[in-house]
């Protein structure tokens, strides 16, 4: 990398001389730059941003907790000898007991169901 310093300097000076801007251009740029208004970039402040985030989260949790959800009906089951009587909240009654006949003798089956008035 033997850069002949004299030739390099000549080339640099030639480029510099050719690209020298006019005094008017320099003055225009100088004056406009010095008159530049200060930046007014909106900056997010930490505390309001965090506060808003916490509020949003709290609102989301409250909505989720208060949202009406379908819950399974509560059942009451009573046994009476080999029979089970299941009652639902809606009034349904199921009687479950062992089958007496083949082919599922002994297995628990719904023997009767109905609606309690």
């Amino acid at each position: 990398m033997n850069d002949d310093p004299t030739r390099a300097r000549e080339l640099d000076l030639r480029l510099r001389a050719l690209l020298t801007p006019s005094a008017q251009a320099v003055e225009r740029v100088r004056v406009t730059a010095l008159a530049a208004p200060p930046t007014r970039r909106p900056r997010a402040k930490l505390v309001p941003t965090l506060g808003a985030a916490v509020l949003c989260l709290a609102a989301a949790v409250a909505t989720w907790l208060a949202w009406p959800r379908k819950t399974p009906p509560t059942w009451s089951v009573q046994s009476s000898g080999p029979l089970l009587v299941a009652r639902s909240q809606t009034g349904g009654v199921w009687i479950v007991g062992p089958a007496a006949e083949a082919p599922s003798r002994g297995k628990m089956l719904v023997i009767a169901k109905g609606v309690r008035p």
Partner: protein, 161 residues
């Protein structure tokens, strides 16, 4: 005032650099103005940057490259202005044609070498500052400048490079 003195010192250098980069006086003026305005804002809000020259040339380089890319993108619709005419006292016609010839040769250099050469030869940054602007090591910058000078000399002497 130190800021004004810095602007006075940097304005002609940055204009020349942007002109060499864009080959367009109007684009060069816009880029230089943006960069200097950024320096003024920064100086007034946060104080003097560590190296005002490196700060301003890094911005000017980005602005000039972006403006060039935009111009190339719009060229099919609006045509290109290889060298914009400026009404104020520009160079005489003889030196204008010489300027056009040299700028054409400069534009034929590979982009990375061209930027390195302009930062060192025209913007008069030292190697460390110019390397900082381009985000490369000083040794790599020296190599690029060397290559660019060699190729430019060949191009200006009538060689195909």
């Amino acid at each position: 005032m130190e800021l004004e003195a810095t602007i006075d010192e940097l304005a002609p250098r940055i204009l020349a650099y942007c002109h060499g980069l864009t080959r367009d006086r109007a684009l060069a003026e816009d880029a230089a103005q943006d960069a200097l305005a950024a320096l003024v804002r920064r100086w007034r809000s946060k104080g003097k940057p560590q190296s005002p020259a490196a700060f301003v040339f890094a911005i000017a380089r980005r602005r000039a490259i972006r403006a060039l890319a935009k111009q190339r993108l719009l060229a099919p619709f609006f045509g290109t202005a290889a060298e914009t005419l400026v009404t104020d006292a520009g160079p005489a016609s003889e030196s204008r044609s010489e300027l056009a010839r040299v700028l054409r040769a400069v534009s034929r250099l590979p982009g990375r070498d061209r930027q390195a050469l302009l930062l060192v030869a025209v913007a008069e940054l030292d190697h460390a500052e110019a390397a900082g602007v381009l985000g490369i090591a000083p040794a790599a910058l020296k190599m690029r400048v060397y290559r660019a000078r060699k190729r430019l000399a060949t191009l200006l002497n009538g060689g195909s490079g």
